[in-house]
């Protein structure tokens, strides 16, 4: 397997740009048209490739949206993307941890292949990794920007091929800070112009969008929200202070402190942490709304695929964990919403097919007309976008590599449409859950009759996934 990239075909990209620039006036006319019309599903095939805006958040749980029936959180703009587009109800992270998940989005690969195994410094990002941004630039002439949280292990910042504009931050081990976060803009340190980071990143994203002429572009907007410490702008902080919070079964306000997860991320009782977290999500949602409005004002909204996802969820007391990393539904599941009028069949539906973090890269590449490299392990979701009945994948690999001083062990597992079977290293007992019948994963089926019946097939699937086999459809 050769993951190493060759140097970008710069002259070819320049040629494509020149061609795109020559069509500027036509593009302007088309924008005016697209802002006032509703294209038919499938009609995009004959047009130029769409622009991409990929909004990635941090630790945003799949159920922390009003469209998921949450009792009080307000997320009208995320809901809008799902309502006007698709809201995948079975979306997952293959590794429920920030850095590996982020690398999986970029490379379309499982962690064992891209080698960002956890957040630890020794598990560093390899600049030889090929990202979809590089391929979009090299093979389809896209102009790309990466704005926001990079947060991969290793000192310094990466050499991201195919990215023309790189805005990020390195402070606090790459986590950044919500207020007055110093930035690194194309290699130079700059102060934030806005006090609140989510607003600053949105401003930077909008500035990039305004600079786009006629050629296709891809904006990778990676927020710190909704990562702890959850702080929101003054007009949102305290918004949910009086809302009643229901904790998962068996959890109490101090779970985490008492369960060996004092590094889980916050030093406050869970109830108040959940409120602060949801306020943070609402602050993020507002900025997503501002970005959508900006796209509309520029006449770009209906020719741009807007994809919103999170790197993983977060456990707020489920199974007595206050953490990431563990193989439980609340942390494996993602919000995964996308909008692109004209491409999607039956907008507003909630496809049952699985969508994974590793699927983003092949999906965007196929939409851009770029051949998906063999080393990418994800599956393009384009068939599902166009056809509600398209087959989905049967199973995927779930993995984690232990990281000091966190208590989650190394494991590999397989998640099918019904079961989650996980093999742990160390003292932790392996687990097998029927996540359809038991989404809270209360009953380990491993030593039951049902468990004994399904285990051999799951073990075979896991072995095959470890060998790199795929079960896409």
């Amino acid at each position: 397997m050769d993951q190493r990239a060759t140097s970008p075909a710069w002259s070819r990209r320049q040629l494509l740009r020149a061609a795109a620039g020559g069509l500027l006036s036509l593009a302007g006319a088309r924008r005016a048209h697209s802002a006032t019309s509703t294209p038919r599903a499938g009609s995009r095939r004959s047009r130029r490739p769409p622009n991409f805006v990929f909004i990635l958040s941090d630790n945003h749980r799949w159920d922390a949206m009003s469209s998921m029936g949450h009792p009080f959180v307000r997320t009208p703009n995320m809901d809008r993307i799902g309502r006007e587009g698709l809201h995948f109800r079975n979306a997952f992270a293959t590794t429920p941890l920030c850095s590996p998940a982020r690398a999986s989005f970029l490379t379309g690969q499982y962690a064992y292949r891209h080698r960002v195994l956890n957040n630890a410094e020794r598990s560093r990002w390899d600049d030889g990794n090929v990202t979809f941004l590089e391929l979009l630039s090299r093979e389809a002439g896209y102009t790309n920007a990466f704005v926001g949280k990079w947060h991969m292990p290793g000192s310094g910042l990466p050499r991201l091929r195919g990215v023309e504009h790189f805005v990020t931050f390195t402070i606090e081990d790459g986590q950044g800070r919500y207020f007055d976060c110093p930035l690194v803009v194309d290699g130079r340190e700059e102060p934030s112009r806005r006090s609140y980071l989510t607003e600053e990143l949105t401003d930077r994203a909008l500035a990039f969008l305004r600079q786009q002429g006629g050629g296709p572009f891809c904006l990778y907007l990676s927020h710190k929200a909704a990562h702890h410490p959850w702080r929101s702008p003054p007009d949102i902080e305290g918004l949910y202070a009086r809302e009643p919070v229901e904790l998962p079964e068996g959890a109490n306000d101090w779970t985490g402190f008492t369960n060996g997860e004092i590094w889980g991320g916050f030093s406050q009782p869970i109830e108040s942490a959940i409120r602060a977290y949801l306020e943070n999500v609402t602050a993020l949602d507002r900025e997503i709304g501002r970005l959508l409005d900006g796209l509309a004002e520029l006449g770009l909204l209906d020719e741009t695929l807007v994809l919103y996802a999170s790197d993983q969820g977060f456990l707020f007391g489920e199974k007595k964990h206050v953490e990431l990393r563990w193989p439980f539904e609340a942390v494996l599941r993602l919000p995964f919403l996308l909008r692109l009028p004209g491409l999607l069949a039956r907008p507003g539906r909630r496809p049952p097919q699985m969508a994974l973090n590793i699927d983003v890269a092949p999906t965007l590449l196929e939409l851009a007309g770029v051949e998906v490299p063999r080393q990418m392990q994800g599956m393009s979701l384009v068939p599902v976008l166009r056809d509600p009945e398209a087959p989905g994948r049967r199973a995927f690999l779930v993995e984690n590599a232990k990281e000091f001083p966190y208590t989650a062990p190394t494991y590999q597992g397989v998640r099918t449409t019904r079961y989650l079977y996980v093999e742990f290293e160390g003292r932790q007992e392996d687990t097998l859950h029927d996540v359809l019948a038991d989404p809270g994963q209360r009953r380990n089926l491993l030593h039951t009759a049902e468990g004994r019946r399904v285990l051999p097939e799951l073990q075979q699937l896991l072995a095959a996934l470890r060998r790199g086999e795929r079960f896409d459809g």
């Binding site: 630890a120 410094e121 020794r122 598990s123 402070i171 606090e172 081990d173 986590q175 800070r177 904790l247 068996g250 959890a251 109490n252 306000d253 101090w254 779970t255 402190f257 008492t258 369960n259 060996g260 004092i262 590094w263 007595k320 590599a401 232990k402 990281e403 000091f404 001083p405 208590t407 989650a408 062990p409 190394t410 290293e425 160390g426 003292r427 932790q428």
Partner: protein, 182 residues
């Protein structure tokens, strides 16, 4: 603090308070996983108080009843050390025993033991004052106060220079340099 109180051999009953606190801590480790939320939260609050403030109960109680400084020190450390052993054992589920020892040096444990040292030093100084009528900072209490002050100053400097989270990140970054990558 290791200075003898001048009393003879300390009777076993002196160990009653630290052992009771240890029992409380042990029961809370069980209770917070197996009782109702309301009970669990109250027990945990009591447990946290015994962990952090227990030395201020145990040390003067033992010293006032004739325990040596060393004996009262051991009694005061019983619950914090038990807590650390429990957490270290948890770490051995995935890491080596050597790494569990490194875990014992984590910033929270450092803070806890700095707090214990501060309490014991202040109590010892107060007890000396009561005994001799003079404020005496010589010996172990003075050294403990200086160490805690230096430690707090260092933390403050790191936190104000790189942010409070840097203390934790530095501790984590040191781990692979000692134990290698996993």
């Amino acid at each position: 603090m290791a200075e003898a109180a001048g009393g003879g051999k300390a009777p076993a009953r002196l160990w009653l308070p630290p052992l009771l606190l240890l029992l409380l801590a042990a029961s809370s480790w069980w209770l917070f996983n197996h009782s109702s939320r309301a009970v669990a939260e109250r027990v945990i609050a009591l447990y946290a108080a015994s962990l952090v403030l227990g030395p201020s109960l145990v040390y003067p109680w033992m010293r006032a009843r004739g325990a040596s400084g060393r004996g009262a020190l051991l009694g005061s450390l019983l619950v914090p050390v038990a807590w650390l052993i429990k957490e270290g054992y948890r770490i051995t589920a995935s890491f080596t025993v050597a790494e569990a020892f490194y875990y014992a040096l984590n910033p929270l444990a450092q803070g806890l033991f700095a707090g214990v040292a501060l309490q014991l030093a202040l109590w010892e100084i107060a007890l000396r004052r009561k005994r001799t009528g003079r404020w005496r900072l010589d010996g172990a209490p003075g050294m403990a106060l200086c160490s805690v002050a230096l430690y707090a100053g260092l933390l403050r400097w790191v936190a104000s220079t790189w942010g409070p989270a840097q203390i934790f990140y530095s501790y984590v970054a040191l781990h692979p340099r000692i134990f290698g990558a996993h």
